[in-house]
Symmetry: C2
Subunit: 120 residues, 2 copies
């Protein structure tokens, strides 16, 4: 994941309704949710929801699939992990982190410094 992709992802999430939609999808898991259901849960009109879902999709954070007349959205977990990895990369210059710098728990950054570099 390169800087422009990270900026797109962060920018996509930095909005009330998109962040809420993303969290709904994170919690929904692979089952996902369709556009109308998300709009209803968030209480916004469908055109705005579509605008926001397109932004999340363009940022690579969610995927969509059609199921009859519904469009089902699911979280793109590799992108999500790539985002996390980018922010914590080389935390503390490689020096073992302090107690409150949980940014690099041993199992992800020390044993496997760049767990998400295989993400586009």
């Amino acid at each position: 994941m390169d800087a422009p992709a990270v900026i797109r992802a962060l920018g996509a999430l930095a909005q009330e309704h998109r962040l809420a939609a993303f969290r709904l999808l994170v919690q929904a898991g692979d089952e996902g949710m369709h556009a109308g259901a998300i709009a209803e849960r968030l209480g916004i009109v469908s055109s705005s929801m579509s605008f926001h879902l397109a932004a999340l999709a363009h940022a690579g954070l969610v995927s969509q699939r059609r199921q009859s007349r519904l469009i089902i959205y699911t979280v793109n977990y590799p992108a999500m992990n790539g985002l996390m990895g980018y922010l914590t990369e080389n935390c503390c210059g490689g020096v073992p982190c302090l107690d409150d710098a949980v940014c690099c728990p041993p199992q992800t950054n020390i044993a496997n410094p760049h767990p998400a570099e295989n993400v586009a």
Copy 2:
């Protein structure tokens, strides 16, 4: 960390120069960097740098301290971890994650579901 705080943090990071500055500070660790040094590394004028650093500080992502004439910026690690925790909270509805859903490694989300809830 509540939704508005997360949105401020994400919005602060969703900008080329702020993201770059934040990463510099993540890698600098507790030693930090002063405003001028960051501006020089990023190749932007000091007034713009000040604008961006203020945005990061307002979002709670960085802290500042004065050292003689320099203002040293450091990453606020608890806020950083709070951000990560918020995004992955209740990942997959609590169901054990798939292999590519590294969003909730056992040591953070399962053994300790909400590791960053003590962040303001």
